[in-house]
């Protein structure tokens, strides 16, 4: 073993990504869906940092990007939760399948 390589990290991040996707597609609770999205974003963060460290160590692009992603994810979550709260007021539920009046 030569320590943890890029491949391992990528393996983790991609797993994370798909776990997130899976969660997003299957969870009916909107908050859970938001959390799944966080997972996806985190997998991206991992990617960036790993690439930055292993491949392009002389540039800081990846790191910065990660920071911004974290910040924006927070903003997104804030708005999303506000919307979900509002939705709860009218629907009395935060089950995503209950909010499907608009279709076809």
């Amino acid at each position: 073993m030569t320590g943890i390589g890029l491949t391992h990290i990528l393996f983790v991040s991609i797993s994370l990504f798909f776990i997130g996707v899976y969660g997003f597609l299957t969870r009916r609770n909107m908050i859970m869906m938001l959390m799944s999205i966080e997972l996806i974003l985190n997998s991206v963060n991992l990617n960036f940092i790993a690439f930055n460290k292993y491949l392009w160590a002389n540039k800081m692009d990846g790191l910065f990007f990660t920071i911004f992603i974290i910040a924006i994810a927070a903003a997104e979550a804030a708005v999303a939760i506000a919307i979900i709260i509002n939705l709860y007021r009218s629907h009395r539920s935060i089950d995503v399948e209950d909010a499907s009046d608009l279709k076809f």
Binding site: I40, F51, A99
Partner: protein, 468 residues
Amino acid sequence: MINELLLMKSELAVTAVIFILLFIKISDTTSNETVLKIVNALLLLNVAFGFCCMDTTGELFSGMFKTNALMSFEKNMLNIGTLLISLLSYEWLRNHRHLPEFFVLMLSSLLGMFFMISSGNFLIFYLGLELSTIPVAALCNFDMEKKQSSEAAMKMIMSSAFSSGILLFGISMMYGTTGTLSFAELPMLLTGSPLQVFSFILLFTGFAFKLSVVPFHLWTADVYEGSPVAVTSFLSVISKGSIVFIFLTTLYNAFAPMGEVWYNLIFLLSVATMIVGNLFALRQQNMKRFLAFSSIAQVGFILIGISGGGQNGTASSVYFMLVYIFSNLGAFGAVQLISSFSGKETIDSYKGLYQTNPLLSWVLTISLFSLAGIPPTAGFFGKFFLLASGAEKGNYILITIAALNMIVSLYYYLRVVRAIFMEKNEQPVAAIQGSIYEKAGLLICVAGIIAVGLYSHFYEYIYALSAF
């Protein structure tokens, strides 16, 4: 210093307006009418300011932000669109509790778009994208008491969060394979390896999502239908416009080496988009939903223009967006007016509209004809140039499919026209007395629809700008 500030003048102007609005919000004593007056005046100023010093070209933040005359022009187009939306939503906004917030959110989104358009780096691009998306999601919820509105907002934020997750994944892969985030450096580093292609496709889906390209379009109709008309029109015109602009820059510059991939991608997707959009539009009853699908179909056409590449591709797409702003806002404006005065939004309720509101009917009809691409409206020219740009590549299958799709789209536009002019109704929409703002807005739209097409200098100007 002044020069550097001038490069960001559009952004700065919008920021200034946002701050003024924030102050107004804080003082919270002015009536809605006054606020609207102020806002419209500011937006008008903003447009006027936008046309000053247009040809400034340059970069800031070591290439992360760049601008040129074309981008200034694009931003101005979006400014005009925003002004029009504000004018056209007068009736709805007049009674709204959170008027200043509406504008703050909308303008923030606009600001995000400006940054996105000017971005020279994935980071700025991502920031702009999110800044333009998240406030709109909040805007979607602006009919607070309506169930549909919050559903639409939820769908918007969920879908866009998911999409930006995928997009980011793509960006990260792209970063991993090339080591850069800068658009300028990217072309030299692209090798066309499968992983790069795949990450490009993921990136592409981010654009496609915002543009509502099939199969990434599914949120569009629901969100459009549930949101207030003003937001719908903002989404379908301004937001789409900004994405088209940045799409052009990235494809033509950053991903130029992948030309073949994205050409085929666009070919496939534009066919799917036109067909699916049209087929869905055929049987819609709600005007907003109907316009949503029609705008999906329009995107198919825009993709054809984009596929052409080069100066023609840029010019035709930008020109079409200009036309599209006027046409679509004309249509949405009429829908908005009818909806806010009578609450009716279905095509059936438009029956006999001509008897009570002849002028409004003509405005709506002309806008729809422009969307359908019927001369002498600007839509005809727009579509013609899009197809011309696409035809340059010699892919006549695509052009033929597009041309045939124009027939289908004509069919459903005519459905509305038929309802307005030909069918009888016991209780048509009552005569509508719009305010001066709405009249001005509609007038600008109609004037735009007529003039932008027939007066060829618009196109020639855009073409000249597209040389960048």
